[in-house]
């Protein structure tokens, strides 16, 4: 069973063992509007927590996704390249962006759980 975490950058992080799958929250997709393009990281690339790792674009905006945790990129959701609308349709499942092999599990402590994220969003 995976544990779900969130960041202040409106990313969700689903952790299963030492693997984390990353995507953006429904709140983020509502703010962005229609997503028209997604740029994914190269597989095998090593990232540090906070690095710009992917790009998500709507018609009039471009935003970066930051790596929520340090580690190695082990997969990317290539289906998004041809169907970026998936992120709008199903942000927290089929609309995932990439997965990381977690280098340092202690970094999880800096992420929010669902409850904390919900109240964070309410405060915006």
């Amino acid at each position: 069973m995976a544990d779900l975490y969130f960041t202040e950058e409106h990313e969700w992080v689903s952790v299963n063992g030492d693997t984390a799958i990353v995507g953006i929250t429904s709140y983020a997709t509502e703010q962005l509007g229609d997503i028209v393009f997604v740029e994914l990281p190269d597989i095998g690339k090593t990232v540090k927590a906070g690095d710009e790792t992917a790009v998500v674009e709507s018609v009039k905006s471009a935003s970066e996704l930051f790596a929520p945790l340090s580690g190695e990129i082990i997969s990317a959701n290539e289906a998004l390249e041809d169907a970026p609308e998936t992120v709008n349709e199903d942000p927290q499942d089929r609309g995932w962006f990439f997965s990381i092999k977690i280098a340092d599990k202690s970094e999880l402590a800096s992420l929010m759980d669902k409850e904390a994220y919900d109240s964070f969003v309410q405060g915006l």
């Binding site: 028209v36 393009f37 740029e39 674009e57 709507s58 018609v59 009039k60 905006s61 471009a62 390249e81």
Partner: protein, 450 residues
């Protein structure tokens, strides 16, 4: 003053509505020390239309315009005939005085013509897609290099030795600040294919011009293969777009990006500008994402009718700011319109006829000039421009022939500086040259050299 509609009584009424006493009350944020109390009193006062016209006529009379003499200059700008209807259409208020089409509901005229332009450019270059134009060919070339560096994530760029020197210098200026390393061997006719030896695993792109600055037509196929074998891209540069009516297209020969000058179609010489830069590339998402400048794209409106919009603008500076693919904030709007209209009038049939006619005129001229004693044709494989070696300074010959009323071409020294190629003359002929003008030139050159 004829361009200012306000009357003094209007101004008084407006100041009253605003609630200030004088117009200067609206300028009080200007620091006192910087205010110009007497305005621009060192400049002349306003002038009537005939007065201004008179002054410009006098200035223009000090220039010799190409159409008034036998004229053979090229080297990146070419004199072609422009149908009268082109200039009429681009002066329509709705095209001339419109802004960038950011409100597509009331800018379909501009947007649809841009879409037609992009289609024509893609068709003649043999590439998948083209953008809505750049400033000119030289800046398109620099942008193509930056684009190739982003696509390949490499930073070495090799320029062919006979790339137009203005293009090479522009490319250096606009890319070196981003860490692009430019390599270029010394200029030498016949040496362009040598760039193959310089390609390595760090090479982002090779930039090869065909026809090159001396007029030589280059077979790009082996160059494309050599670049691709090392994961590098081939940028094909073209400064005389009419040549593509007769030559195999760069796309067909394997080019990845084409950077070209489109002035020859629809646009006057204008002493160097405004011109229209063409940028075309493979129809590949990775390429389109990294392309500079504007794109018009097809879509539907709320009622399901076809229409066009500026699209993919997240690459551009107004959204991406410091992360934009380029700082460019314009295209050559009206020049692209002139290009599109002229090209639509030509059509495939006319475009290819025009190219053949240019080649034929240049072949005839080359025959006549190279028959002169001690004149040597250095570039047998040419389109409408070729290079001659003269028995004396080409600069001197051009100056002397100008005094006799013939503009005989561009001395290589004008482009490369005095010293190394003083005896080389670059000569272009187009459909605007009559057969009589060709023989006038040959006769005058023979006399000048005898």
């Amino acid at each position: 003053m004829r361009y200012l509609p306000l009357l003094d009584e209007d101004r008084a009424h407006m100041l009253k509505t605003i609630g200030v006493d004088s117009v200067d009350d609206l300028f009080t944020d200007i620091p006192k020390c910087a205010r110009l109390e007497n305005g621009l009193d060192k400049l002349p006062e306003h002038a009537s239309e005939p007065c201004v016209e008179q002054h410009f006529s006098e200035l223009a009379a000090k220039n010799i315009n190409a159409g008034s003499v036998p004229f053979f200059c090229g080297a990146g700008a070419y004199r072609h005939h422009i149908p009268a209807s082109v200039d009429h259409l681009i002066q329509r208020s709705e095209f001339l005085t419109a802004y960038t089409p950011y409100q597509p509901e009331i800018a379909q005229g501009t947007l649809q013509t841009l879409f037609e332009f992009q289609t024509q450019v893609a068709q003649i270059t043999g590439m998948g897609i083209a953008n809505a134009s750049m400033y000119d060919g030289s800046t398109a070339c620099a942008e193509a290099v930056l684009m190739a560096a982003r696509i390949t994530r490499r930073s070495k760029c090799i320029l062919a030795p006979n790339l137009h020197p203005h293009y090479a210098q522009t490319t250096r200026t606009l890319t070196h600040t981003l860490g692009i390393g430019i390599e270029q061997a010394a200029t030498a006719i016949g040496a362009d294919t040598d760039v193959m030896q310089q390609i390595d695993d760090e090479t982002a792109c090779i930039v090869v011009q065909s026809p090159n600055v001396f007029g030589e037509v280059i077979d790009l196929r082996a160059l494309a293969d050599a670049a691709h074998a090392k994961g590098a891209l081939l940028i094909a540069v073209n400064t005389e777009i009419v040549s593509l009516g007769l030559l195999k297209s760069p796309g067909e020969m394997g080019a990845d990006i084409v950077a070209a000058e489109g002035q020859s179609i629809g646009n006057s010489l204008n002493f160097g500008g405004p011109y229209v830069g063409l940028l075309a590339c493979r129809d590949d998402k990775k390429f389109i994402r990294q392309a500079p400048g504007r794109f018009a794209g097809q879509t539907l409106d709320a009622a399901g009718k076809r229409g066009f919009v500026l699209t993919l603008s997240t690459r551009e500076q107004h959204i991406r700011r410091e992360k934009a693919t380029s700082n460019i904030c314009t295209n050559s709007g009206l020049c692209t319109l002139a290009f599109t209209i002229h090209m639509a009038l030509l059509g495939d049939v006319g475009f290819r006829h025009l190219a053949k006619l240019n080649h034929q005129k240049a072949c005839d001229l080359a025959d006549q000039l190279s028959a002169i004693d001690k004149v040597e044709l250095l570039t047998p494989m040419f389109f409408n421009e070729f290079t001659l070696r003269l028995p004396k300074s080409a600069h001197e010959v051009v100056e002397n022939l100008a005094k006799r009323g013939i503009l005989a071409g561009v001395p290589a020294s004008r482009l490369f500086g005095e010293g190394i190629m003083d005896d080389l003359l670059i000569v272009a002929a187009t459909e605007t040259n009559s057969d009589i003008q060709l023989s006038q030139f040959a006769t005058a050159l023979a006399e000048e050299l005898s």
